[in-house]
């Protein structure tokens, strides 16, 4: 650690603790920000980054701990911090700009200067121009242009201008480069450097370690809700950060044995090519899934992971692809085509894409096989339905009061099990899983992977997209690295106990 004195800090957070429903999210976290520095904040999903930032934003309060901003102690933990009062401003991942308004109108949103009863548009235009000039972007962005006509990187610059107009002195950037191209990232870094020279202090959150090393003065690593590393970037090696990120926890062996995959026969699913030019570009993806295989896909936000699954599944229709199942060409133009051919997907967002929240557990599970349950009177055969559901509930160990209970009252892990139940009763051959364990407890995670493993052992295949690297390493027979829409690397883990660790994998991404 470096010797810095309290006087150097614009923000000093000391021994911050936060617990959500019995789960400790932050324990004794210290974070300090020197005036005029760019401070990198990294950590895996669930490490506590967002919680920490949300405390600074006044979204949450801390349970205990001290926050000192500009020498002023904010001691009352009961109260939400008012970010405006302390000139803290956040540039969010999803931009908070209003597309139908102009650049100037967005920059001065909520603080519109007035002339009589009307907004002073001339002033807005002039001042916006001034701020953009300071960022040396005055040439590129017209204050009168509507936001919807701007590219994503310019939108980010407008966000920054907005923060400055609102007199922000401390800016928090939440994963700003995730959606940007290389050139756009360079542009953003230029602007950040100019901000720094103006004396503005920046917290920079990113998964991209390269970016951290390029732009930050210091870096802090959070792991499992603790600050495990803080130092100057110039004294730090990439490996130090990776070690801090991953920790040294080793994974216990369990039922799971990685079997040697028989690749002599036809692959179960063959993706000859897959291209998608919309939004996140997928370029010529080729991929085989063999019987019994769990193929893992790792990649950063914006690498096209979700888009890849959606394109295979026929949800995303604007793609060009050639698929073969058991050596036979299949056509998938819609989700019902995919289902008919035995390809099923478990979507990323449990509540928005997976469940009908006001339906019962039973009705959610049966939703995928309604037509098969129809009797000669066109009615749903409830006796059969109940039998199927009760069977699954036992097999998947879904914890519930009764099957007529509304699904919204179940825990996340049990909800996810219901989604898996409703998917596997359609007897798919290939299961596409999009981050199936986000936000669920460890026990349910284990249960879910047991189900997935059993599923593959019956001669089926799985493509598993996950942002949790430990999960990929532990369960996959192969791991593919997806980068900007193409597969950049392939690691074969079949038949071996473990031949890659998280550090190596993280470096590949």
């Amino acid at each position: 650690m470096v010797n810095l004195n309290s006087n150097d800090f614009i923000i000093e957070m000391l021994k911050i603790n936060k617990t959500f429903i019995g789960v400790k999210v932050l324990s004794d976290v210290d974070l300090n920000l020197v005036k005029g520095e760019i401070h990198g904040l990294v950590g895996q999903n669930g490490a506590g980054k967002s919680t920490l930032i949300k405390i600074l934003n006044g979204v949450y309060t801390s349970d205990s701990g001290k926050i000192i901003i500009n020498g002023k102690l904010i001691d009352d933990n009961e109260n939400y911090l008012n970010p405006k009062q302390y000139a803290i401003s956040t540039v969010f991942q999803e931009f908070s700009l209003i597309p139908s308004l102009t650049v100037g109108e967005n920059v001065f949103l909520g603080i519109e200067p007035t002339k009589g009863f009307l907004t002073d548009d001339k002033y807005i235009e002039r001042e916006t121009k001034k701020i953009l000039n300071e960022l040396k972007m005055g040439e590129d962005i017209d204050p009168k242009e509507k936001i919807k006509n701007l590219g994503i990187s310019y939108c980010q610059i407008v966000e920054i201008a907005k923060s400055l107009a609102q007199k922000g002195e401390i800016l928090i950037f939440d994963e700003p480069t995730a959606a940007l191209s290389y050139k756009e990232t360079e542009l953003l870094f230029e602007v950040m450097k100019r901000l720094k020279n103006k004396g503005i202090s920046i917290i920079f959150i990113s998964h991209y370690l390269d970016d951290i090393f390029k732009i930050c003065d210091r870096v802090t690593v959070l792991r499992d809700g603790r600050n495990v590393f803080t130092d100057y970037v110039k004294n730090t090696k990439l490996n130090d950060v990776i070690k801090a990120l991953v920790g040294y926890n080793t994974y216990e062996n369990n039922y799971f044995k990685r079997k040697k995959i028989d690749k002599s026969s036809n692959p179960l699913l063959e993706i000859k090519y897959l291209k998608n030019d919309t939004a996140n570009k997928l370029k010529d993806i080729k991929l085989n899934v063999y019987k019994g295989e769990i193929v893992g896909v790792a990649g950063l936000l914006g690498s096209g992971k979700t888009e890849m699954l959606n394109s295979i599944y026929g949800f995303d229709k604007k793609c060009d692809k050639l698929l073969k199942l058991d050596g036979k060409k299949i056509k998938i133009n819609s989700i019902s085509d995919a289902r008919k051919n035995g390809i099923a997907l478990i979507p990323e967002d449990r509540k928005k894409q997976g469940l009908i929240l006001n339906f019962s557990i039973r009705d959610n599970i049966l939703l995928s096989i309604l037509d098969k349950l129809m009797n000669f009177l066109f009615f749903i055969n409830d006796t059969n339905g109940n039998k199927i559901v009760n069977n699954l509930v036992q097999k998947l160990k879904i914890k519930l009061e009764n099957i007529d209970q509304k699904i919204k009252y179940l825990s996340g892990g049990n909800q996810q099990k219901v989604i898996i139940a409703k998917t596997i009763i359609t007897n798919p051959r290939v299961l596409l899983l999009d981050d199936p364990t986000t936000g669920i407890d460890i026990k349910s995670k284990e249960d879910i992977f047991k189900i997935i493993y059993d599923f593959t052992q019956a001669g089926n295949g799985v493509i598993l997209v996950s942002s949790e690297l430990s999960e990929l390493i532990k369960y996959c027979t192969r791991i593919l690295i997806l980068k900007q829409g193409s597969i950049k690397n392939e690691i074969d883990c079949s038949g071996i106990e473990k031949n890659i660790n998280e550090e190596e994998l993280l470096e590949l991404i």
């Binding site: 949800f315 989700i335 019902s336 995919a338 289902r339 997907l345 979507p347 928005k352 894409q353 997976g354 469940l355 009908i356 929240l357 006001n358 339906f359 009705d363 049966l366 939703l367 995928s368 309604l370 037509d371 349950l373 129809m374 066109f378 009615f379 749903i380 409703k422």
Partner: protein
């Protein structure tokens, strides 16, 4: 207090509509005892008056449950009634019935295409359709009424009785049973509720939500045309003004019956009881001797009150 009892309230809200129905029935029975509210004749009258609203409310329940709305039913009523009566005059009863139903189904189908393929919100698509249909009705009828002289038709769709029971009550009960079974017991009904409950999840499950929406709008179109044919039979003639005031009554009946305006929740039986509540209120207010102006005002208050009871806050 509301929050503490939230769970109980949720269960209880399913019965609110029945309790409301019984309380109103009791109230009017006592208040209007000597004015003959509780006579078989008067009750049968209420049932007859409520038939068209009930039948349309059944169709509307399907549309609302799928997360859409159909504003074109009012003018669909008059158009179907006019087409039916014209066909009845020029051809025969079979062609007339088939023609009337087909018009309703066709209107619903076009509504469905506008909503799912052209992607116009149903509120606007059916609002436009409402105006188009009304214009056509005025045009083809020349603003005149067309009488129905066919005795068989009038029996089936209006004045017939089986024993002591009006044929309109039988129509209502048949529609109620079919509607309730389709919505609650068939795969189609379950898909309708899933589509309205969470469209995206329904899509990911492989449900063809566009098709479901077209089908519910067709059901609504067909029930509207059936209501139009009943009007023609009951009044023994059709005019472009038929059904003009029914749209809001139908929506009110459905919402009072516990169907959600935002999709995913609703019962057919609730909607029919909602229609009967409104019919009973109409009848009661007339018997109370209120002037038409006063009736309209009182009805508004009662609708607001009833809806406030049946909408469950979430």
């Amino acid at each position: 207090m509301l929050n503490i009892n939230k769970f109980k309230l949720r269960d209880y809200s399913n019965f609110v509509i029945y309790i409301m129905f019984i309380l109103l029935l009791l109230l009017f029975s006592v208040l209007l005892f000597d004015k003959g509210f509780l006579t078989v004749n008067n009750l049968m009258n209420i049932a007859k008056q409520s038939a068209t609203i009930s039948i349309m409310a059944i169709g509307m329940t399907f549309v609302l449950c799928s997360g859409e709305i159909d504003l074109s039913i009012g003018s669909n009523v008059s158009l179907s009634a006019l087409i039916t009566t014209v066909l009845l005059r020029d051809y025969n009863i079979y062609i007339a019935i088939l023609g009337g139903i087909s018009i309703g189904a066709l209107v619903g189908f076009i509504n469905g295409l506008l909503v799912t393929k052209v992607k116009i919100p149903s509120f606007l698509a059916t609002l436009g359709m409402m105006s188009i249909l009304l214009g056509i009705s005025r045009w083809i009828s020349g603003l005149k009424s067309i009488p129905v002289t066919n005795k068989v038709y009038n029996f089936i769709f209006g004045i017939g009785r089986i024993g002591n029971i009006s044929i309109l009550l039988i129509w209502t009960i048949v529609a109620l049973i079919i509607g309730q079974l389709v919505l609650k017991k068939t795969p189609f009904g379950r898909k309708v509720l899933a589509t309205g409950g969470n469209k995206l999840a329904a899509i990911y499950t492989g449900i063809k939500v566009d098709r479901i929406k077209i089908e519910t709008l067709m059901i609504s179109g067909i029930t509207a045309s059936l209501a139009g044919m009943i009007y023609a039979g009951r009044l023994q003639g059709a005019r472009y003004t038929l059904g003009g005031a029914d749209l809001l009554t139908v929506i009110a009946a459905t919402i009072i019956g516990g169907t959600s305006l935002f999709g995913g929740e609703g019962t057919v039986i609730g909607s029919v009881i909602g229609a009967f509540i409104l019919g009973m209120v109409n009848n009661g207010l007339i018997l109370l001797g209120l002037s038409i102006d006063q009736q309209i005002i009182a009805r508004g208050f009662i609708i607001i009150l009833a809806v406030s009871f049946s909408i469950s806050e979430d």
